[in-house]
């Protein structure tokens, strides 16, 4: 065989721009998640194996766009058009390979169907399942039963339940019924049988409610939940329903239980049978227990749907991580709407201690309960033997049921422990596998060259990459306390922060001019300019200057250092004499802590207002020679000639808005104006800073999404007393979350340094 270059090429993956993908077979698009607790819209897709996947809007667009298979550039262009932001072919390849391929939603066009796609592994879920009633039969039965969910009928049934309970309590003789059971123990068998039938009716209720809402119920089956056997109905398709439809599905079982209670109560009132009375009470106790939201009973699903969060257990880890003092909020928590977030946090705070305590209690008393179980089985064996002698078939059946009920939890416990052990092994493996690259740098070290040349005498080739060391939290304390012997590595938040800082240190070729603007006064524009400039100056090594270009008595310089008597006007007057950095330095103030330099404006508005666009053009031309990064704090408004001149000079814009509706509207109008006046490229690179005007305030979701679609980034700066306008601002006095937000803004601005250089 002649292995030519062309043969080799066919075995290598094509470049990202020429790659083609396709959807996997049998994907079904279920539409947007309704009543979602997420801030951003989410969409549902079902795979051929019935696994439902929730996708962000962008990923959903990508899955839709890859069909029919086309070159990546075309797909990326279609997605960009629909999404409103530009997705490159490389970005598309990144999304497909890191998100969609592992989930088995998209595959390379030439590949076979995936066989082992990622599936959900929910905590405390049903195991060892078997089907009792196939989906087709359930669907048919559910269709017949849907009229029971006609609202007037539901209202009548609930009222009848109250009336029946009143009648049972006032007219029923409970003690006599209990006595009856003890006198004839085999009656218990009958109660078990009725309750078991009621459990199947309960499941049919879920299926009928699911069908009533417009979704397709799956099979009814049985399995082991925790350590108990349980019936279940597959209502996965109800994910596609609105919140009301999902809650109806959750409560459908209890509603059918209520109907069963009505039948039992009617039977008791007609016959006076103690069995019916006891069963009616026992069933209602079960109904109340079904509402316990701690484990996956009906109450759990109701809570989950009210919060708009599909799997509450999946949020336990992120919520606990976010509750640790001094740690940033986990993205899996910050993506939730404020109300859902409070809801989920409250649930976690209540449920986790309860579950931990219950587990500990169970383990502690396990030997005692095993012993009791053994004694119970022995006793039931004795009952069976005696019943056998008497040929008492009912008693024999009761003994068998009792033995089964004693043994099944033991079997369930063994299975549960097996699963826990398996999960721990898996966790340890993944932890071990991901630990190494995390602890020893972001990229794998290059392979050493076979023959070392002079050019290979570099740190990367000659030395092992140094392990990153922690500086914060307990990890930092351990590292320092052990005299640098023990290095637990930086925490994830610290790694994230370092990554942000790496981004904001993106080298600048020449200089960059960043205009900070707002349509309205009093939104904190000067404060943001100062804080952003200080962040850059602190974390970058090069020269950063903030220019007060506010003609109306700007106060930027007063916020950095004691007043300086030289201003922009002086620089413009002496422009020809300023030929060195040292000469220019005489006109600027410098922050003591941050080393940010500031050029003040004139206090006299008459002089300030007289500065024209040509003056700013000359000034910026001078600053370009001595500074890498120039921040320009403009006056308010966009109609002013000088401000328009600054926009012409700008490489990018930071738009400051207030979190409220007025602030958002003013910001959106500013971007409209820029689009209409030839600054559309600046709009696409703009970083929008939403300055919170009170504690905890956040921009409305539609407002945030509006700016996200039009601009490079939207960052909310939380309220901070230390950022109160007017005073000398000390960066170290800022709250940690405020500093994090500023680093985030700076990193977003710096992301454009590369884009700008390339263009």
């Amino acid at each position: 065989m002649n292995l030519t270059t062309a043969d080799h090429l066919t075995t290598e993956p094509p470049p990202a721009t020429e790659q083609r993908w396709r959807q996997t077979r049998g994907l079904e698009f279920l539409g947007p998640v309704q009543g979602s607790g997420l801030k951003d819209p989410a969409f549902l897709v079902r795979r051929v194996d019935d696994q439902v996947v929730q996708l962000s809007e962008l990923l959903h667009l990508v899955v839709r766009a890859v069909e029919p298979p086309r070159p990546a550039e075309q797909v990326a262009a279609d997605v960009s058009e629909a999404y409103g932001r530009t997705l490159s072919a490389e970005g598309l390849a990144h999304l497909v390979t890191t998100r969609l391929e592992p989930l088995g939603l998209v595959v390379p066009d030439e590949s076979a169907e995936p066989t082992r796609s990622v599936r959900a592994r929910p905590l405390l879920a049903l195991i060892a399942k078997g089907t009792l009633v196939p989906a087709r039969v359930v669907g048919h039965l559910a269709g017949v039963l849907t009229p029971f969910f006609w609202p007037p009928l539901v209202a009548v049934a609930l009222a009848a339940l109250v009336a029946a309970d009143v009648a049972l309590v006032t007219r029923g003789d409970l003690w006599s019924a209990i006595g009856e059971v003890f006198a004839t123990p085999t009656i218990a068998l009958l109660i078990y049988a009725i309750l078991t039938a009621a459990a199947l009716v309960h499941e049919l209720g879920h299926a009928a409610a699911c069908r009533y809402g417009g979704a397709r119920p799956g099979e009814i089956g049985f399995g082991l939940y925790l350590v108990f056997p349980a019936f279940y109905t597959d209502v996965t398709d109800s994910y596609r329903l609105g919140r009301a439809g999902r809650v109806r599905t959750d409560l459908g079982g209890l509603y059918f239980n209520a109907l069963t209670v009505l039948v039992l109560a009617a039977g008791y009132l007609a016959t006076g049978s103690g069995v019916l009375l006891l069963t009616a009470f026992a069933l209602q106790v079960q109904m109340l227990q079904q509402l316990i939201p701690v484990v996956r009973f009906d109450g759990y699903f109701v809570l989950s749907d009210l919060a708009g969060v599909p799997d509450l257990f999946a949020r336990v880890g992120p919520v606990l991580r976010s509750l640790r003092p001094g740690h940033p909020t986990d993205p899996r928590v910050s993506e939730l709407r404020p109300r859902s977030r409070q809801f989920v946090t409250g649930w976690v705070v209540v449920v986790v201690p309860l579950l931990v305590a219950a587990l500990g209690w169970a383990i502690w008393y396990l030997p005692e309960f095993l012993e009791r179980g053994r004694e119970g089985v022995r006793l039931q064996q004795l009952v069976f033997d005696v019943a056998w002698e008497a040929r008492d078939w009912a008693a024999m059946a009761l003994a068998v049921v009792s033995i089964a009920l004693l043994l099944l939890p033991l079997l369930g416990a063994a299975l549960a422990l097996w699963r826990v052990a398996g999960s721990l092994v898996l966790f340890a493996r993944t932890r071990f596998a991901t630990r190494e690259p995390a602890a020893y740098g972001l990229t794998a070290p290059p392979d050493p060259p076979r023959v070392v040349s002079a050019a290979d005498f570099t740190d990367e080739v000659m030395y092992a990459a140094p392990a990153p060391v922690p500086t914060q939290g307990w990890r930092g304390t351990v590292y320092r306390g052990s005299g640098h012997l023990l290095n637990p590595g930086p925490s994830l938040p610290e790694q994230r922060r370092r990554e942000l800082e790496r981004r904001l240190r993106t080298p600048i070729d020449g200089s960059r001019r960043v205009v900070v603007m707002s349509r309205k006064g009093g939104v904190g524009k000067t404060t943001i300019t100062l804080a952003l400039g200080s962040t850059f100056a602190l974390l970058r090594g090069d020269r950063v200057i903030a220019v007060d270009a506010n003609p109306d008595a700007g106060n930027l310089a007063h916020r950095v250092a004691p007043p300086h008597d030289r201003t922009v006007t002086d620089v413009l007057r002496d422009l020809d004499q300023i030929t060195t950095y040292a000469a220019l330095r005489r006109y600027t103030s410098q922050g003591i802590e941050s080393r940010l330099e500031v050029l003040a404006s004139d206090d006299d508005p008459g002089i300030g207002l007289a500065l024209a666009r040509d003056d700013y053009h000359r000034l910026i031309g001078l600053l370009d020679r001595f500074y890498n990064l120039i921040l320009l704090d403009t006056g308010t408004g966009i109609l002013d000639s000088a401000n328009q001149g600054l926009l012409t000079e700008a490489d990018q814009v930071v738009l400051v808005v207030r979190a409220g509706l007025d602030g958002g509207r003013a910001g959106a109008l500013t971007l409209d104006w820029m689009d209409q006046h030839g600054f559309d490229d600046l709009v696409a690179r703009t970083v929008v800073v939403v300055n919170a005007e009170r504690r905890g305030s956040e921009p409305p979701e539609p407002m945030r999404r509006h700016f996200e679609k039009r601009c490079a980034r939207v960052v909310t700066v939380p309220w901070d007393d230390a950022l109160e306008p007017g005073a000398l601002t000390d960066m170290s006095a800022l709250h940690r979350r405020t500093r994090d937000a500023l680093v985030d803004i700076a990193a977003a601005v710096a992301d454009n340094f590369v884009v700008g250089d390339e263009s």
Binding site: P185, H206, Q289
Partner: protein, 72 residues
Amino acid sequence: MVRRPELVMADLDAETATPLPRRETLSCQFACVNVTNVVGVNLALAVNAATIGSQANALALQYLASVQMHMP
């Protein structure tokens, strides 16, 4: 033509795709029955074993007693 902002790698890494668990509505019949005296969590094997056992044991003893009473 209006220029669209570029999606940078940090934006792409924030995109989420989550496989959702199957929704399986349970009936707690075997977990719930006879645990009415236990408030709250139904997690423990111990709870079920003890309570089912206790009632079953009581019924068993009652049965054995009644059989003995009726023995000739």
